[in-house]
């Protein structure tokens, strides 16, 4: 958990998946597919607030809760994520 600074996101490789985990300032934890469906931008590098992440390449915005894009692009996969004993636990449903 301490790999993710408050208010930012970090990307992790989980098996064959790349997952961006976000830690909004207001609390909570969210995990989305790390790659923007528009032009492959790194979502973990995006600015976030309590509700959304904005891709740093072309400003497409995705809801942290379910990965839906609010700017007309395809949605991204959202993952269940929780903290257990200071460790981030991801559930990749296939």
């Amino acid at each position: 958990m301490d790999q993710i600074p408050v208010g930012e996101g970090r990307a992790f490789a989980v098996g064959d998946e790349q997952v961006a985990v976000f830690r909004p300032r207001g609390g909570g934890l969210h995990a989305l597919q790390a790659v923007c469906p528009h032009r492959g931008g790194p979502l973990a590098d995006g600015l976030i607030d309590a509700a959304q992440v904005v891709c740093p390449l072309h400003n497409h915005a995705f809801r942290l809760s379910d990965g839906r894009c609010t700017t007309g692009e395809r949605s991204v996969q959202a993952y269940q994520v929780a903290v257990e004993d200071g460790e981030v636990v991801l559930r990749l449903t296939r």
């Binding site: 301490d2 790999q3 993710i4 600074p5 408050v6 208010g7 930012e8 996101g9 970090r10 990307a11 992790f12 490789a13 064959d16 790349q18 961006a20 300032r25 207001g26 790390a34 790659v35 032009r39 492959g40 931008g41 790194p42 979502l43 973990a44 590098d45 995006g46 600015l47 976030i48 607030d49 309590a50 959304q52 992440v53 904005v54 740093p56 390449l57 072309h58 400003n59 915005a61 700017t71 007309g72």
Partner: protein, 827 residues
């Protein structure tokens, strides 16, 4: 084989033969040509130039320049040329021509291309005898005339040119080159009144007078005065006044040579009357071409119609196109008259009450332009002094294409179409936002789907969210689509979308409440107290500007570029630009950059427009080591901040340099480097007004001028928008230049909207207002601005020092861990 005889070896006769030969006429015809002049065929148009350049002994026009067809051309094409031989009669019934050397030649087809001759108005003393002009009087028609004029002009003081048409003005200019004072005497009020209206004539007159030519209009020459030995000594005008001159050139027009046609029994009026196939109306075996021809009542004295006639004649006579027909020429001419550009086409003045007439006159610069439009078509245009639009006008004139609604656009480029016009006239498929590929149709559809504000449409379509240069047009299209239903979006005045305050109000609140971090501002001022991703970057920038060292830096409020101090690229790698202040580097720096580039497999090394070196394609996790190994400060090529100062080599090396622009540029960059601002700031310092560092198109551009002074321009741009900066002030010392640059930038930092570049900011505030505030200190805030700037300068630290201690966990951690970077090709 048929016999083809061509009478006339001038431009029309020779051109007709050339056209006949290219259509295989050499197989059909044995060709005989008669030429009055004892030369081959030459380009009469160049005689003016020959006269003008003949003054210069090295400037002699070479024969190959002047002559169109050398003797070999006649030989190679099997043409029998009788040069210097005049045909005196045609026996149409015996099909024979009789020449003045006694020769008689039979023809099957005859082409008359007898051209025209100078017209000598009846004037006392003009002629020495029935055939000979008074010594010192010249026509200006032939090579012989031109050579004789040049010989006679030697050592002479003054010449009168009778006739202020095209040829007369050329003669005057040419004689000037021989050291003579030239006087042009013109019977009409306006010069070149065949082609130009009276006002154009007046503008042209001023231009010529500036060139030292004296112009007498509205008067005739009634007599040529002679010395006792019979040579020219002066001229007498209608009103009895006289002018002493050493020579007289008569350019009072031309007359078609129709004598031969007349004595041979062909119909002649002003010229030899021909049908649409260029045949004499009396004789199907006799063609005529060129200046001697009268077709549908018109006689032409310019070269373009002659080319068209020669084509039709050749098509018809060879049978290449028996249907070929000449319908007359629409005259569009482009000339340089005595060094002045002139273009004229069609009508010179409106003729009907409902003809549209657009007129532009700027006599001070010798510019006069008109267009005449009838029924939406261009029927006439005159361009004098500036003929830059001649191509499009000629096209409109020739092809009769529809014209722009705003007629003035025929004469001037008024920049991009004005927004209102642009919005209404744009086709639905026209791309409005070129960054995000949004068409007008998509914007309109978005309005139809219920968006009621410009901001809403921009958000939904992403139009205007790239470089932003199309925002105005987007707003106009949305407005038009709503048809007055536009809801003003109060949010457009907000500094950031989530806080309902404009920038001054927001700053006051922040200061009063002592809010030093983004999260504090969101908590106190945002709707619902919620933070908002899209507002963070703007807010962080403002807070740093306001609080300097007291700012509480929250890393999550920064855009990725500002978190890792490098510019993110399309594949998620970064570009690294070390500081090279003023564009001045050293061998040691270059060596280090080269070593780093090799060590980290940097895919692309590129020189930037800001005179620096860009290392592109650097992986995020390599950034700290790249900085450490470069051991150079950040060049700040990634933020909304002060970027770079471009310089020229100034006074140290450049032989034109007036001030040490290089050092001033370095000093300014060192002082203000990396300052955050509402949008990026690019600067330049040039050592002289040649402006090699492009200071006129920078956010702040400084130019050294004579006397140790520096001009400071603000609001320039040469990106998505191109704008020349406005001169804010001229200062006496480099220290003042540094201070004033800083004061302007601080005012901009405090007052510009987020992402508002100086090229929008300066016009919005207004140059006068800016000068009053920044230069004249009308509001008494100059001292405070300077102090605030000093605080910001003092708060500076080099962000690349973070390679030692990362600011956050995983600051340089790969955000696409499974993607092999760089994805760009390595050059």
């Amino acid at each position: 084989m048929q016999e083809l005889v061509v009478v006339g070896n001038g431009m029309a006769g020779a051109r007709a033969v050339e056209e006949i030969l290219t259509r295989g006429g050499g197989e059909t015809f044995r060709i005989t040509m008669f030429g009055d002049e004892p030369h081959g065929n030459y380009n009469r148009i160049l005689l003016s130039e020959l006269l003008a350049r003949g003054a210069d002994p090295d400037g002699q026009l070479l024969e190959e320049d002047l002559f169109l067809n050398p003797w070999e051309w006649y030989r190679e094409n099997g043409i029998t040329l009788h040069a210097g031989v005049r045909v005196v009669r045609v026996d149409r019934f015996a099909h024979r021509v009789y020449a003045d050397d006694g020769s008689i030649v039979r023809y099957d087809k005859l082409v008359l291309a007898t051209g025209s001759r100078s017209f000598f108005p009846p004037t006392e003393g003009l002629w020495a005898d029935n055939k000979t002009l008074t010594p010192g009087v010249f026509g200006f028609r032939t090579l012989h005339d031109t050579m004789a004029m040049m010989r006679y002009a030697r050592g002479k003081q003054r010449a009168a040119v009778i006739g202020g048409g095209l040829l007369g003005l050329e003669a005057a200019r040419g004689l000037q080159a021989h050291g003579l004072a030239a006087h042009v005497v013109h019977a009409a009020e306006g010069l070149m009144n065949q082609q130009l209206d009276a006002q154009a004539g007046r503008v042209l007159r001023r231009s010529l007078e500036r060139l030292g030519i004296t112009v007498h209009t509205g008067t005739r020459t009634t007599a040529i005065r002679r010395t006792t030995d019979g040579a020219v000594s002066g001229v007498t005008f209608t009103d009895g006044t006289t002018l002493d001159v050493d020579m007289v050139v008569v350019t009072a027009g031309i007359r078609p040579n129709i004598g031969l046609a007349m004595v041979s029994g062909l119909e002649t009026q002003r010229g030899i009357v021909v049908d649409d196939q260029l045949r004499s109306v009396d004789d199907d075996d006799i063609y005529a071409v060129g200046e001697c021809v009268q077709h549908r009542g018109e006689v032409y004295g310019l070269v373009a119609p002659l080319w068209e006639q020669a084509t039709v004649l050749a098509d018809h006579i060879t049978g290449a196109d028996p249907q070929a027909a000449y319908h007359g020429s629409r005259l569009a001419t482009k000339l340089k008259v005595a060094g002045v550009d002139v273009a004229a086409m069609g009508l010179k003045e409106p003729e009907r009450p409902d003809d549209e007439f657009v007129q532009f006159s700027e006599p001070g610069r010798g510019i006069y332009q008109t267009v005449i439009i009838r029924d939406g078509m261009l029927v006439g245009a005159t361009l004098l002094g500036d003929i830059s639009k001649v191509a499009s006008l000629t096209q409109a004139f020739d092809r009769r294409v529809p014209l722009p609604e705003e007629r003035i656009r025929l004469l001037f480029d008024l920049g991009a179409p004005t927004a209102e016009v642009g919005a209404a006239e744009l086709a639905d498929e026209a791309q409005v936002c070129n960054c995000n590929g949004v068409s007008k149709g998509q914007l309109v559809a978005c309005v139809r789907d219920g968006q009621r504000t410009v901001g809403g449409v921009m958000g939904a379509t992403r139009a205007g969210k790239g470089c932003g240069s199309c925002k105005g047009l987007v707003a106009d299209i949305v407005e038009a689509a709503l048809g007055g239903d536009l809801e003003t979006d109060p949010a457009e005045a907000y500094y950031v979308p989530c806080i309902p305050m404009d920038k001054p109000t927001l700053m006051t609140e922040i200061r009063q409440r002592g809010l030093r971090s983004s999260s504090a501002v969101f908590a106190e001022l945002a709707q619902d107290g919620a933070e908002h991703a899209g507002s963070k970057m703007a807010l962080s920038s403002l807070l740093r500007t306001m609080w300097g060292e007291q700012y509480i830096d929250e890393r999550d409020g920064r855009f990725i570029n500002d978190r890792v101090h490098a510019n993110i690229q399309r594949d998620g790698t970064f570009s690294v630009v070390p500081q090279i202040a003023g564009g001045v580097t050293t061998p040691a720096q270059l060596r280090r950059i080269a070593e780093v580039a090799e060590r980290y497999n940097i895919p692309l090394l590129k020189l930037t427009g800001g005179q620096r070196i860009d290392l592109l394609g650097v992986r995020k996790e390599d950034l700290p080591r790249v900085w450490a190994d470069l051991d150079m400060p950040s060049g700040h090529a990634y933020g909304k901040s002060f970027r770079t100062v471009k310089t020229c080599v100034g006074s140290d090396f450049c032989r034109f340099g007036l001030g040490d622009s290089t050092q001033l540029g370095i000093d300014i960059e060192q002082r203000y480097k990396g300052l955050e601002s509402p949008a990026k700031m690019k600067l330049a310092v040039s050592g002289c007004p040649r402006n090699c560092a492009e200071s006129y198109v920078k956010d702040v551009g400084i130019v050294a001028v004579e006397g140790g002074r520096w001009e400071i321009y603000v609001g320039g741009a040469a990106g998505a928008t191109v704008r020349k900066g406005d001169l804010l002030a001229t200062v006496d010392s480099r220290d003042e230049a540094v201070t004033l640059t800083g004061r302007f930038m601080q005012y901009y930092r405090e007052n510009a909207k987020w992402l508002e570049r100086s090229y929008d900011f300066v016009p919005r505030i207004g140059l006068t207002e800016l000068r009053a505030i920044v230069v004249e200190d009308r509001d008494g805030i100059a001292g405070r601005l300077d102090e605030a700037m000093q605080d910001s300068v003092d708060a500076y630290y080099d962000p690349w020092q973070e390679h030692r201690h990362p600011a956050t966990p995983g600051q340089f951690r790969d955000a696409l861990p499974l993607v092999q970077l760089p994805k760009v090709p390595i050059r």
